[in-house]
Amino acid sequence: MLENVKYYISVALYYFKLSLQKQFEYPAMIISCVFMIPMMYGTGILLLYFMVHNFQPLGGWSFPQLAFLFGIGYLSHGLMMVFSVQNWWIESYVLRGEFDRMLLRPLSVFFQFTVTYINFIGLVDVLVGLTIFLYSCKLINFVWSLHNIITIAFVIIGGVLIRSSIFTIFCSVAFWTKRSESLFLLLNDMLERTTQYPMTIYPYFVQFMLTFIVPIAFISFYPACEILGKDGRIVFPLEMSVYTPIIGIVMFILANMFFNLGLKKYESAGS
């Protein structure tokens, strides 16, 4: 068992090393992204700031509270961009027959796919998220107790798992249809609009769906409600440091199953 874990870790680390090396072969691309992405999201947060200041708090949330919600959501988004952005490309993997090689190696295809790429540029998103998060922590007088730190860590890890699993599941549709790009775009928009704003601004039905059908609300909304003491409309026993990671793991297992189901339909590509 321990041997096995060591084996998987050594393979994963080597995949990570290679994908980083690969990206450093082209420094120009990295530099341009490092400048572009913070500008894009900097304007996003500024817009939010002006909106809140010139109009009124959104759904009863003040700007510091909104920034805190945004920060948690954005941190898990950034880490997802680092570790599992390849989910977005399942369609082209299917169309170009790129799973062939993974099928020829004596390792789980889902494992190979999960570790096949690590996106260095995604770190920019993590930095943006971290900045906003730390800034908002200051504004809301966040208490850095051990309990709170563990809660935040678990919530973010769980959030990354939920996000990447949702993408895996939706993009795996390409195994059947050969196309999943529009689904992915829809999902990307949806995730952005639902993790950065309080869910109470949406109808109850939408929140219900995003809680029990596609559990996006656990990524940032419920955790933020809990820490900020806001009313989240749906009340859960126990804490979010339990829910988010467990839902994350369950989603990850489901994603693995769905991916494998799709892989059975895989038809490779003519050569």
């Binding site: 393979v11 090396q21 082209y26 038809e267 490779s268 050569s271």
Partner: protein
């Protein structure tokens, strides 16, 4: 029990018929016309350990689909594959750890990195210990001069060098069976020669079973004692090269050199297939007429300076097979 057993293997693909124009596109969306295509149609054969088998056939005959099913990439619609008694579809990981697969048109090497990096990754994936790794690199250096290119980024390698890299990558974990899908495609004579030499060497040294698909008849002539010819998804020939030629092309060519130009040469039992000013090629069925008889007949009528008999080669044989109509 044979090493590789393929039994009644079938692969069907569902194809949606696309209609013409925008109107057709809309109607295809609502009433898709689907039909099934059999890429591989009920093939069966066995391969013993240590064989080198050539898998040949025209483009779209089903060679690659068959190879993909044998290696576990594609699931067959019907039928089964067993390698060393184990099905790659039921127990993929157990089977593929012992296989080496090279696709000539696609590489498994990391494009931007030095060749050695891919080897290091494979060393970890296949759990190759240091000693075996060193021995294999040494062996691969002897047959492919691999250390000469191991530190070059793959994108800077020539096609022939890249193919050497791909072959080495496929052999690092000492597979018992090697699948090569068009390994010599697009290569120059020298590179082809070194690849053929490699295949021969690893077959002799390591006893590796090799299945090779190719359009290059030189590969087949030099390497394969056995040929499987596939056309329209079916096996049309399976056997030693010589006997297939014998059966498919049971004729000879008689090349006649004339002393003076002569038109309208004729013989009732032979057919003129080609004429140059002083040379004429006759194609004849050796069961109908013996070469000696044909020569003596012709020399009675025409001023002949020289004759030679030519055996049909593999190219003639392949042409015969491709021409043959399919019987469903």
């Amino acid at each position: 029990m044979a090493f590789l057993e393929v039994e009644n293997l079938v692969k069907e693909f569902t194809v949606t018929k696309k209609k013409e124009g925008l109107k057709g596109a809309v109607s295809s969306l609502f009433h898709p016309e689907k039909y099934k295509v059999r890429a591989v149609d009920n093939i069966s054969f066995n391969i013993e350990q240590g064989e080198i088998v050539g898998f040949i056939g025209p483009n779209g005959a089903g060679k690659s689909t068959a190879v993909k099913m044998m290696t576990g990439i594609l699931h067959p619609t019907m039928g089964s594959v067993k390698i060393n008694g184990i099905s790659p579809h039921k127990n993929r990981k157990a089977v593929v750890g012992k296989l080496g697969v090279v696709f000539g048109q696609r590489t498994q090497l990391y494009w931007d990195l030095r060749l050695g990096e891919t080897f290091e990754l494979l060393k970890r994936i296949y759990k190759i210990d240091d000693k075996m790794y060193k021995d294999n690199i040494k062996m691969l250096d002897e047959v492919l001069n691999i250390t000469e290119i191991i530190d070059t980024p793959v994108r800077q390698l020539s096609l022939g060098q890249r193919m050497r890299g791909d072959l080495a990558a496929a052999m690092l974990h000492s597979p018992t069976m090697l699948f090569l899908d068009e390994p010599t495609i697009g290569l120059d004579i020298e590179a082809k020669h070194s690849i053929r030499n490699f295949i021969k060497q690893i077959n002799e040294r390591c006893g590796t079973t090799v299945i090779l698909t190719t359009h290059d008849l030189g590969d087949v002539e030099e390497l394969c004692k056995r040929l499987i010819v596939i056309n329209h998804g079916k096996i049309v020939e399976d056997g030693p090269l010589n006997s297939i030629i014998e059966r498919m092309a049971p004729y000879r060519y008689l090349v006649v050199e004339l002393a003076s130009p002569h038109h309208n040469l004729f013989h009732p039992a032979a057919e003129v297939v080609k004429t140059e000013t002083l040379r004429v090629w006759f194609k004849f069925d050796k069961s109908r007429i013996a070469a000696t008889e044909l020569i003596s007949d012709l020399s009675k009528t025409y001023p002949i300076r020289d004759v030679s008999v030519k055996e049909p080669d593999i190219e003639d044989m392949i042409m015969e097979i491709y021409k043959k109509p399919v019987i469903f």
